[in-house]
Symmetry: C2
Subunit: 688 residues, 2 copies
């Protein structure tokens, strides 16, 4: 499945390379590919079409896409995007992730503890303001100035609107442009319908990123405002689904891509992110696999995290494969060389842009020194328990909130506090045995990376084993209790200082060094990347103009394409699967085991109905849950994955092979109505 952003957010974003061709591109809504659409498909989206696409599309703040599909705030996204909500609402005796959920009346809908929806309102260009504030600055001055201007712009933008408005300053074209994205924020989001995970995720890890595919990867939620269903613009739902060859659009929020990165940045990505992450996630996957084998309850506790880990791992390994591919490396090197030669060939240009490529070639070495410790401490890879991020937030919040907004760590800015608070006070179950297992394992990783003789490691472990320390921390902590978290938040610095909660004490102990490495990383790496990739971006603008799309930034984009299969090593892959294929593929064993409802209900289904489909739309992680819409602006499908070739799409889009994977609208309506017998929901979908 297309990865939600969580870990991937760490991957660097980047700059523009060459000119988009075929159906390539993740276009911003203030720079849609109107010319390409007209020339290739004879289609010009009307202003109404554009406005609807913008307003009926949604972002799940924690890393997915979604859309409104009825006037009453009905929201469609992927099952794998709602996994955290399903898991948080479940208990040992009531497993919504495994068994599904189906509400037929509003009163039955369940509030998701930690879902925030963002609906794009407007985009405005703030490039001049940001550039004026950061001009001539380097290193920590640059980071500081960037934060201050972003805080100022965001604060002005939110104004007196409060928690209902969210404003983000977004870096596009790696600093070639800055834009202000203003959103309507929804935090009361309730679960309406989810199928069983065995059908949502049919085929599991083996089928992930593959096609033919047979997943009902869909969940419906509903946005509420003041306790009532939100009244919203929405996409009409076309239960016929799309036809082969039909022009279709994906409107969603691709997370991060690196198509414009210089070769030096990609080498850094391979060496310092992907290689250690692939090992970390692989080992964690082994721990989760064996933990889940121990009992049904262990399997339930670890299910969400195992899915996430397996998916991340497939992405990391696929990206490593791409970044080890001699052809890709050569193409990137040649692109760098061409632009570099063009800059050098004119003395004025050479003076204006200098040699940003040389500057970028230093970051891999600097990262090799800083990053292992930064990831363990600041990104929390050394403290893999749900309690640590809560403790970290509670420890930092009073310190940061005491600073002027412009000087805070960005996640503590006023504009970001609503999301932070929701997450901090969400009622999420903690499973002590599971948490202690992950924490013990990750404390071992911490010791491995920092070294057994590191003073901080000594302070954390003392003379005890990671297992002993982890059990003491998890079992001794009250942070699983929302009331206690609220008490610490409201009590501020004094409450934190007085707390003898062991995980709070751990977060306090780690904080100085963690902040120090974050700052080192910002000043010595991020500032260098910002500065120099901005220079490259400006050189590209001068050479090519801006008739292209920026790398993905987890903001709303449009991609166009057609429903179309591809040739896999000479064998054609057709664009559609159907329900008959699902039944043919099912065995009695997970992940190919059907839920009982689908075994019992087979006769009620139209087996020839289209189930999943592929299209040439250009999607990456973050696009999960995006609506697939047609020329009319009607939903004809729901994106949930890309094929295996789409993983390398982070670096290069290959129109011959790269495909998006969607659930067909026909399959959604057919199964809700005939398999799950939820006519209320099916009717709402069809009626709008």
């Amino acid at each position: 499945m297309l990865a939600p952003k969580r870990l991937l957010a760490l991957l660097l974003t980047s700059l523009l390379l060459g000119v988009a061709h075929a159906d390539e591109g993740m276009w911003t809504f203030d720079n849609l590919p109107l010319k390409q659409l007209r020339e290739r498909y004879g289609f010009t989206p009307s202003q109404d079409w554009q406005t609807l696409a913008k307003h009926a599309s949604l972002r799940l703040a924690q890393g997915c896409s979604a859309s409104f599909v009825s006037a009453n705030g009905l929201v469609m996204t992927n099952h794998h995007c709602s996994e955290p909500c399903l898991t948080q609402l479940s208990s040992p005796t009531r497993d919504y992730a495994a068994n599904g959920f189906s509400a037929k009346r509003e009163e039955e809908e369940l509030k998701c503890p930690d879902v925030e929806l963002n609906q794009l309102n407007s985009i405005s260009d703030v490039t001049m303001r940001v550039n004026a504030a950061t001009a001539g600055k380097l290193g920590s001055d640059l980071i500081k100035a960037q934060r201050a201007i972003a805080s100022k712009i965001e604060t002005e933008c939110v104004g007196a609107a409060g928690a209902n408005v969210r404003c983000d300053v977004v870096t596009l074209y790696e600093g070639g442009r800055y834009a202000l994205y203003k959103y309507r924020r929804y935090q009361d989001v309730r679960l309406v319908f989810a199928p069983e995970s065995a059908i949502a995720d049919f085929g599991g890890d083996p089928d992930n990123f593959n096609f033919p595919r047979y997943c009902l990867d869909v969940t419906f939620m509903r946005a509420y405002v003041d306790g009532k269903p939100a009244s919203t613009e929405y996409f009409k739902f076309d239960k016929a689904g799309p036809k082969a060859g039909e022009l279709v659009f994906v409107v969603g929020n691709p997370g991060d891509s690196q198509r414009a990165d210089s070769l030096a940045q990609l080498a850094n990505l391979r060496a310092n992110f992907l290689t250690p992450f692939a090992s970390y996630e692989s080992e964690l996957r082994g721990v989760l696999w064996q933990y889940g084998n121990e009992s049904a309850e262990h399997a339930r506790q670890s299910h969400d995290e195992r899915l996430y880990t397996e998916n991340a791992l497939k992405v990391f390994m696929g990206q490593l494969e791409a970044l080890n591919d001699p052809d890709l490396l050569r193409a990137k090197e040649e692109a760098d060389d061409r632009l570099r030669a063009w800059v050098k060939s004119d003395p004025k240009r050479a003076a204006k842009y200098g040699d940003p490529w040389s500057a970028l070639s230093t970051i891999a070495q600097i990262n090799a020194e800083i990053l292992p410790r930064y990831l363990m401490l600041e990104e929390g890879l050394g403290f893999d328990t749900d309690l640590f991020p809560l403790a970290r937030t509670l420890v930092r919040a009073p310190v940061e909130r005491n600073k002027p907004d412009a000087e805070r760590l960005p996640e503590y800015r006023e504009a970001n506090l609503p999301a932070l608070q929701q997450s901090t006070f969400a009622a999420k179950p903690i499973y002590p045995e599971f948490d202690a297992t992950k924490l013990a394992w990750s404390l071992e990783k911490l010791r491995q990376v920092l070294g057994a003789d590191d003073p901080l490691v000594h302070k954390i472990l003392g003379t005890d084993s990671p297992q002993t320390v982890a059990a003491r921390l998890v079992n001794g902590s009250n942070l699983g209790d929302v009331a206690y978290r609220r008490q610490l938040w409201e009590g501020g610095a004094n409450a934190i200082e007085a707390s003898d909660d062991p995980v709070i004490k751990l977060a306090r102990l780690v904080d100085p060094e963690s902040r120090r490495f974050r700052k080192e990383h910002e000043d010595r790496v991020e500032a260098v990347v910002t500065k120099n990739s901005q220079l490259i971006a400006h050189a590209k603008f001068e050479r090519e103009g801006t008739a292209n799309y920026p790398d993905a930034t987890f903001t709303l984009r449009l991609s166009y394409g057609v429903v179309k299969g591809w040739d896999e090593q000479g064998a054609p892959v057709p664009p559609f699967t159907n329900f008959a294929g699902l039944y043919a593929r099912a065995t009695g064993s997970a992940p190919f085991k059907l839920p009982q409802s689908w075994i019992d209900g087979k006769a009620r289904l139209n087996l020839e109905a289209h189930y999943n489909l592929v299209s040439t739309n250009d999607v990456i992680g973050g696009n999960s849950g995006s609506p697939l819409i047609d020329r009319e602006g009607h939903v004809v499908g729901l994106i949930f994955d890309g094929n295996i070739h789409s993983i390398g799409g982070n670096f290069i889009y290959d129109s011959r092979l790269n495909r998006a994977i969607a659930v067909d609208a026909a399959a959604i309506e057919e199964s809700i109505r005939n398999m799950y017998g939820n006519a209320v929901l099916a009717d709402e979908l069809v009626a709008g």
Copy 2:
């Protein structure tokens, strides 16, 4: 610890690059660095010294080094090299790996089920014969011709001597030279002494490849001939150990190095071996970690494999780090370019050598296609149970033994059968739950790599889960019974065909496709590498002569160096640790927990005695267990590891940082006599 060869044996070997400097080099005994030793250290080893070094040194056929240290066949090696023997001799109620073993009389010594020692007798040059047999051949013809000539030479060499003699044709300088190594073979090897693993491996994975270090990583065994201790040449044991700055030698069998590889070969290594292996071993480590946490018995069952996996993983990650280092990559590229330019600069040379670099640049792409399946099937990564290799051998043996020797897969040649038979009939315990766990996990990997729709995967799994299939295979198999294995071996093809043992049936099912991918790999990759790296080797000989050492080949080598610390980021690391440091470092928690004997016996030890030490000797995996000897030819230590910088030593030796790690002879004698009270053994060591 320096990795035994097992998995590492897969890594490609290679060619000579540049000229050795400082204390670099793993020199063959027919080309010792006499000039360097004379010029730098004023030392010329006598013929007797050289002969003794050759005859008193040993190889453990399964992947370590060792030495004779008494006239009665007493053998010294590392504890981690004897782990398989210790584990195989143990049971749930008698754990020699954890609790150690100490025999004071011959009758108490225990026969290791599966240890073969090789004592080098002679080296002869067979380059002309091999070259004559393979001249002008390519692809499968080349592989076939190579095998035929090697079989012929080895068969002649063994002659009528039978199982006591082992002859190996060894490829040196990546085909620049071929040599015949003739060994005395010992298969009756008995355990004499092993300390507790908690002291042998003190510091565990966190300290592995680090220094300061505190490990008593030693085991003594004894070679027997006709039921009596072997009478052997041996190194005298100097219980004083070496001094700082003293000239010392390592005589041992480094496994595989890639110092002479072209950049294209290193890129292939990174992409197609190290990246997938690091992920595989990481995930397996996670499974083993959690399995071992489940109970003390699970910890015991998985101990040896966890050690091996953690060590392999550290090596793979370290090698990936090296192969992602821009400086190293640039140095390799420049070395390639220089030689290439030198070849091109002369039309006669250009005609003679052509462009082997271009040919080698194709192998990464070919491997990307072949290797994943090859590794799963032929290397058995998809069948991680101790039963599968036994089944594979039993299935293939009658087929291969029915062919002329020259046409067999090399491991089934007559010259190699004694080792194969020992391993096949060794009484090794099988732990069904552990085996089924690993097998289930690896069957999942098989499905992942081959794809859920692969016909072979369908045949293996049917409609069942990997867990169900693994349990059925392991619980239904009789292969844990040595008598049954012997019956199948002796019954030949008919017995195999009649067998309904499920693991035998699995091995038969897999065999055709497994052989097919092995052959593809041999013909399309190995033959290309052989041909073209030989061309590069010959070009280098023409340019530089042969005054250098070949890459490691798991054959006897001498390295020289001095006892010396290094500067770690500005901080000096002294060359010795002592017992006092061990006690200061100990905590109550594994892997820093002392065994009870060491807590109780502290007062009996000279705490100032040298314990571990570092020297500049050039060692890599396979050198584990090598004696460290002085100018007199006396043992002054026992190599068991390299520092973290030595991992990159597979590709480049850096004399400023690269260090070998040894147990000091003083610590060995002191602890055997005073901690373990085994005066008999201590006296034998001191007296010889």
